[in-house]
Amino acid sequence: MTGLVLKNVTKSFKEGESTVDALKNVSLSVEPGEFIAIIGPSGSGKSTLLSIAGALLQPSKGEVLVNGTDIGKMKEKDLSSFRLTDIGFILQTSNLIPYLNVLDQLLLVCKMKGKVTSKEIDLAKMLLNDLGLGDKLKKFPNELSGGERQRVAIARAFVNNSNIILADEPTASLDSNRAFEVVKQIRQAVKNRNKAAIMVTHDERMLEFCDKVYRMEDGVLTQED
């Protein structure tokens, strides 16, 4: 089974004496080729949900199935290699490595797996071309605009060819035009490559590009119409 499935997931954190449930019995399923959005105020548990879906955190209760594998049963040590091969993260603009050029940002992901093959270099170049960065391969992050940096981050999320794409506030710190552009590009890449994608966002203007919208409030996830 492909895609991402969360079944009755609860995540509790200890806060002093008491425990706080950041996620309460959350269930969610994303099919390949589907692009969903999760909105909600800060502190509602969106980031926790994304961290659990991305194998950064393990649930307290419930199952998280990524391509049929239950993350909750994995050892902490194996999670990083699981993220490397099965999850693509689109992080905020500031999260490129400052001393790597655009192409190397992508090749770094391949390096983490071992030797870089020429096939991987071709894929990286193709991704960057598709996102309109074909002539900027040798540029460093500080030489790019905010939108360009975010497109590099998108390309980086796709380069390991994982089935799941998770985007954490990809439009933060972008103006509306660029934000639209970036979300459209994520959507296009998700559809073309048939990935299951979740985007966490504050920005309600972006929802028109998503197939489904969920709202998160105090740890409870509900689907919007």
């Binding site: 961290s51 950064l56 990083s80 992080l91 390096k111 460093f140 980086r156 966490v200």
Partner: protein, 375 residues
């Protein structure tokens, strides 16, 4: 290695400065080692050059040249016994000398030298680089160390020994022969004995007294020798070298400074990279989030230190040899390439160990720092 090199290329100033510090430490280490080497050969070169396996000193002398006197008869007797192949008498005193022409002119300049008596043809007699070896036909012939040439002594000259009427003729030059911080003058042991024990009773009643006896042979039985001859003690070569006046103290000082330098360089590297890692917590968090293992990040840090230290140490070696060119001629500075290499490797290992300690910090970085930071 990929990240390590890319980052260094990108932040040249930052890594250039750390590299410069490592280079200066390496430079200091090499200069000190050269100085230590120079001083120790000044103190004990003649002793170190001797190809002896065991040395007979007076009992209770603690291997110190100044406190020993043994009977030369032992040397004649011991050959062929207890595994001894060859025994050579050795006598030492310090004398003040002057070139004959200067002495005639009543010049004020005099030179202190180590006056070493050896038997012509025995293994402890050094090979000349110029001129002739000692021979029994010329009891007043001597070999002098090259360094005395600068002070106006040369083959064929006559040297006057102050406070005695001894006049010596220079037969040949030797290389790198210093003893007790003084250039060495080698003479026939008989001549040395008649000079050293000219005062009545100064021979302690020993037959043909000498300072010590050097022995050569395979598996010499030191215990048996000590049992069979009265009031003697045997020492190995390294013990005898240690017994040279000032040798132990000088080398202990230098080694202590070197040890401190190694510790300091490890701490500097560890602290620098500790701060670097703290600065890059966010970056490493991102890398971990997209799937980098701790090992991947640690390897990149350690390989960075390795490359940086290696480059800096090589630069330090180059700087050391350049500085050595500028040192004045008489300075006791003696760079041994093998030693430079050894200390370079130690420094490299120590720096890498320092970075390994800092790199452990990486494990504590939480990949969650990469998520949900925009407010």
């Amino acid at each position: 290695m990929f990240l390590a090199i890319k980052e260094m290329k990108h932040s040249k100033t930052r890594f250039g400065m750390i590299g410069a510090i490592i280079m200066l430490i390496a430079w200091l280490v090499f200069i000190l080692s050269g100085l230590g080497n120079g001083l120790s050969s000044l103190a004990a070169a003649t002793m170190k050059n001797m190809d002896g396996d065991l040395f007979i000193y007076e009992e209770g002398s603690e291997g110190t040249m100044m406190k020993t006197k043994v009977s030369g008869a032992i040397a004649d007797d011991i050959e062929g016994k207890y595994g001894v192949k060859e025994a050579a008498k050795f006598g030492q005193s310090t004398i003040i000398v002057q070139n004959e022409t200067e002495a005639a002119a009543n010049a004020k300049e005099k030179d202190d030298v180590a006056f070493i008596g050896v038997e012509p043809g025995k293994f402890i007699e050094p090979t000349v680089v110029k001129g002739q070896q000692l021979n029994s036909d010329e009891p007043l012939g001597v070999l002098i160390d090259e360094s005395l040439q600068e002070k106006g002594y040369d083959i064929g000259d006559t040297i006057v020994v102050k406070s005695s009427n001894l006049k010596l003729k220079i037969l040949g030059l030797t290389e790198g022969e210093t003893f007790n911080h003084l250039p060495t003058v080698f003479v026939n042991i008989d001549t040395w004995q008649s000079y050293a024990f000219s005062a009545p009773g100064s021979d302690n009643g020993l037959e043909s007294p000498v300072t010590m006896i050097a022995l050569q042979g395979n598996s010499i039985e030191g215990n048996k020798i000590e049992k069979n001859y009265d009031s003697i003690e045997t020492f190995t070569k390294s013990e005898a070298v240690m017994g040279m006046p000032g040798y132990k103290e000088e080398s202990a000082t230098i080694y202590m400074m070197l040890a401190f330098l190694f510790v300091i360089s490890a701490v500097i590297i560890a602290v620098f990279f500790y701060v670097f890692i703290l600065q890059k917590t966010q970056q490493f968090g991102v890398m971990k989030a997209i799937g980098a293992s701790n090992r991947f990040i640690k390897n990149s840090i350690i390989s960075q230190v390795f490359v940086l230290s290696l480059g800096s140490i090589i630069a330090g070696i180059a700087l050391t040899y350049l500085t050595a060119l500028a040192f004045p001629e008489g300075m006791p500075f003696n760079l041994d390439f093998k030693m430079v290499l050894l200390y370079g490797i130690i420094l490299l290992i120590v720096s890498v160990l320092g970075s390994v300690i800092s790199a452990r910090q990486v494990t504590k970085i939480d990949p969650l720092t990469a998520i949900g930071r925009v407010e």
